[in-house]
Each structure stands twice: as C-alpha cells, then as structure tokens.
Amino acid sequence: MATAKEIADKAERNDIRSRWLLSAPALLIVFLAALGPLLIVVVYSFLTPGNYGDVKWQFSTDAWVSVLLQRDAFDDTLSFASAHLSIFWRSVSLSAMTTILTLILGFPTAYFIATRPEHRRDIWLFLITIPFWTNLLIRTFAMQEVLRNDGLINWLLQLLRITDHPIQLMYTNFAVLLGMVYVFLPLMVLPLYASMEKIDFRLIEAGYDLYATRFQVLRRIIVPLVAPGIVAGSILVFIPSLGAYVTPRVLGGGTNLMIGNLIELQFGQGRNWPLGAALSITLMAIVMVALLFYVRNMTRSDGSHG
C-alpha cells in the first residue's frame, strides 16, 4: 500500500506534468517564432555572405571582425571601422540622452499625477496611456509634422520673426533625439508613477518636520524612495532606444543611422547577412548587460527594504 507521502508525491508530480502540458503551446510558439531564430542568428554570424544576400555555408569570423574593424582594400591592414563606431556611439549617446531627458520630464509628471486626489489620478494616467498605445509610427510621423521645414516649429519661429527662412530640423541627431523622447516618455512616466504612488506622504511630512527644505526633501527622501522606479523607467527607455529603428529611419533620414538601421542595411543594400547577424548579437549583448544591471539593482534594493 502506498504511504501518504507517496500519494502526495505522485499528486505533485502529476500536477507539475499537467502544468508543463498547459504551458507547452505558449512555450512552443515563443520558441519557434522568437527565441529559436535568435539561436540561428548566432550561427549565421559565423558564415560567409552570399553574393545576392543570404549566406554561403562556410565558416568565417569576418563578420565579427568587421563589427569593429575594417580591412583596407589595398594593403589588407586592419583599422577601426570608424563608420560602425560612430553609429554605435550615436546609438548609445542618443539613448542615454533620451533616458536623461525623459527622466527630467517624466519625474515631475509622474509626481504630479501621484499627488492628485485619488479619483483624478486615473484620468491623468489615461492621458499618458493614450499616446503610449498610439502606433509608434503615427507618433513618429506626427513628430515629423512638427519638425519639417514647413512644420509647426519653423512656422512658429518665422511667425515670431526669430528667423526668416526655415531651419533644417529634420534629418538631424536633434530630430532623432526629440522623436525618441516623445515616443518613449510614457515608458518613463508609468513605472515612475507606480513607485511614487506607493510613497507614504507622512515620510515627506516627517522630512519637513525635521527641517528639510523642499529641495532636500526631494533629494534625500523622494528620490531614494522611488529609486527602483527610476531604474525601471530608465531601463524601459534605454533598451528600446538602443534598438530603435522606426524613429531614426523616419526622422534621421539616411544619414543619422542607429544600430537598428545599420543592421537593416546589412540585410538590404549591404547584402552582408553575417555582419547583420553579428551586429544583432552585439546589440543584444549590450541590452543584456543593461538588463543584468537592472536585475542586480532590483534585488539589492529589495534586500535592503525587506
């Protein structure tokens, strides 16, 4: 006869088995149409480019070498691929600036929402969510309407007689930056709000009671309390900024590329799939480092508060 423990163990094994069965379809789809192909990208990055796109099944590390270096056509020496490096640098610096600007704009906005009376907060949040769920392409296109030579900004500048001919705003780094700030701002506000909503305002009162001025309360109490939200928001903005494709393509034109556009180029005109694959993995690696930083930060702050 089975003991009670054996019966319980068997029930638990059955439970776990049925749980695996239940989750199988979702896992399968994600594996087939998202995760699995990523593994194949790794394989492709070690192959030789085909003549008309695609690849030749021939092992090569050329793609990885040319991520950072370029071979001189005449004397075969290697030097840094300045074109790639400048695109990497533009991607990282534009993403960092986007993160900082969205933080500067988003922090007060999230704080504003969190300090409204409870029944009004939903409405303000709703106003943040609408642009968030509006098609990214449409928002980028809307930004183009504002930035064009005959767009809103130039129209205003000329109306105020600050300038008599339109200033070129489109197809600049500035346009890409502005576009990304516009597009990713809600991603900063929402996690910031989530952690600000939980602030115990008696802590802020206690701060004022103990002679802290407004700025000191902000610096010593509010910011440390919402630090997890700041990290979460920054990661949520930084990662998609780094991989941005649509915004630099529409607002940056052909000249102000970011990593995403460089990758696309290898699969289009560049016809160098292995390089595109290697660049993709490089991008993913940068993202993973950022995510790891985030996870470590989260577990650390959890440990200290709980």
Binding site: I29, P37, L105, I113, I130, I138, R214, G243
Partner: protein, 266 residues
C-alpha cells in the same frame, strides 16, 4: 493670510507636468488637424475638408492593408490569449517547481530582446523555410505576431490570477465540483476580465507592429503600418494624416474601452 505650505508640492513640477502633457498631445493634434486640410501640401491650411478621408477610402492599397492588419491582429491576439491563459494557469498559484522561473523568462523573452533583432532572426529563418516549403502566405506573419503578443496577453491574465482567492476553488471542490467544473464555473468567470484585457492588449500590440512585420512580410503582404512607412519614405500627402487619424481614433477607442473596463472591475 500667508501663502500656504503644501507638503506635496515641489517647485516647478506642476509646470513641467503641464508642459509634458501639452507636448505629448501637440504633435498628434497637429497631425489630426491637417488630416482635415483641403490642400495638397501639408503645410498651408486652406480650409476644412474630408477629401483626404475619401482619397484614403478609395485607395485599394489602404483598404487591403487595413483588412490584412485586422486579420493578422485578430488571429494572433486570439491565439496568443488562449495559449497565454493556459500558460498563466500553469505558472501561478503553485509553490515554486523546477522550471517555473525558466517559463517566466521564456514567455517574457520577446519583451527583452530589441524588436529589430527578433525581426532579423525571423527574416533569416522564415526566408529559408519559404524556400524549403514554397509556402509564403500570411502564416509567417501570424506566427511572429502571436509570439510577441503572448507576453502582453500573459501579463494581465497572470496578474488577475494571482490576485484571485485560491480558497474559491477549494470551496467549489468542497461543493462536489470536479476539476474541470471548478474551472468552468468558478475560475473562468472570475478570470474573464483579465483574459479580455490580455486580448485587447495583444490586439493593439499586433495592430501597431512595424518592425517585425516589415522584415517578415512577403511581397504584397503590407499591413497598414508598413504601408504607411513606405508612404512616409516616398513623401507625404494629407492622406497619411487621414489614415493616421482613423487609426488613432480606433486605438483610443480600444484603450478607452480597456480603461473603463478595468476600472469598473477594480
């Protein structure tokens, strides 16, 4: 009386917040206004007109890609919601077992990888499969959309499940309900708002996708967003504004429904 000291206020924060809200809506507002412009050019206002809506309506490419967008979004959202619901049931309300964290990471993986990387990966794999099988229908787009919709459907369903009282099912079991009956009569009705939220999120996310679709689509498989991307590259007429406006109204409609729906339930 002296000026009151409000402990919740921070200097300048209200102003920045207002500027923020203004800036969020200024570009969209401009876009919508010029959709009603009776002019070829986007720049000069010539008067109110609905002509660009007519132009868009009579553009077969627009209509075709719109229909395709909705087809893909509907199928992908439903598939994603069903599988995500099952996965959510399998990963909540249990003590940790081997592979649980693995499942979380696995299901949410599409959220963590930049879209362009997934897009490239799918391009590589699907182009090979297309050569092998000769099939080049909408199946690829649907599979890709389903995969990246799964985490969006999964999150609200899981959240709903975790906030649900486990004792309800025990109570049902106590009242002679079998496992399936308990699910059918207790869990599912309570889970319904979460499922609906997941479905709506998945639908909107699929409808909005540009990057993955752009890389996966075969010739003549434009969705509305990829069609618009092509148009923007070529130079724009207010027709794009008109299409965007319709799209915008639709998204806002869905989000508003979602907002009021989730609000009523909480």
């Amino acid at each position: 009386m002296a000026k009151r000291f409000d402990v919740r206020q921070q200097n300048g924060f209200v102003t920045i917040a207002m500027v923020c809200f203004f800036l969020l809506y200024l570009p969209i507002g401009t876009l919508v206004v010029f959709a009603f412009n009776d002019n070829e050019s986007l720049a000069i206002w010539k008067g109110f007109s609905l002509r660009w809506f007519h132009v868009a309506w009579n553009n077969t490419l627009v209509i075709e890609s719109s229909i395709r967008s909705f087809q893909i979004a509907a199928v992908a959202a439903i598939l994603a919601t069903i599988t995500a619901t099952m996965a959510a049931l399998a990963t909540t309300r249990t003590k940790p077992y081997r592979g649980l964290t693995f499942k979380y990471a696995f299901i949410n993986q599409p959220l963590m990888v930049p879209e362009i990387v997934t897009a490239v990966a799918l391009l590589i794999v699907f182009s090979r499969i297309k050569i092998w099988t000769g099939y080049s229908g909408l199946g690829y787009l649907i599979a890709a959309h389903t995969a990246f919709c799964i985490p969006f459907a999964y999150l609200p369903i899981r959240a709903r499940l975790e906030s649900m009282d486990l004792s309800l099912e025990t109570a049902a079991a106590d009242l002679y309900a079998g496992k399936w009956q308990a699910f059918r009569h207790v869990t599912l009705p309570l889970l319904w708002p979460g499922i609906l939220a997941g479905l709506m999120l998945a639908f909107v996310v699929s409808l909005d996708d540009v990057v993955i679709t752009e890389f996966v689509k075969s010739g003549g498989q434009d969705t509305l967003p990829t069609f618009m991307l092509g148009q923007i590259r070529r130079g724009v007429t207010p027709e794009i504004n008109a299409i965007s406006t319709v799209f915008l109204v639709l998204s806002i409609g869905i989000v508003t429904a979602f907002f009021f729906f989730s609000r009523k339930r909480t």
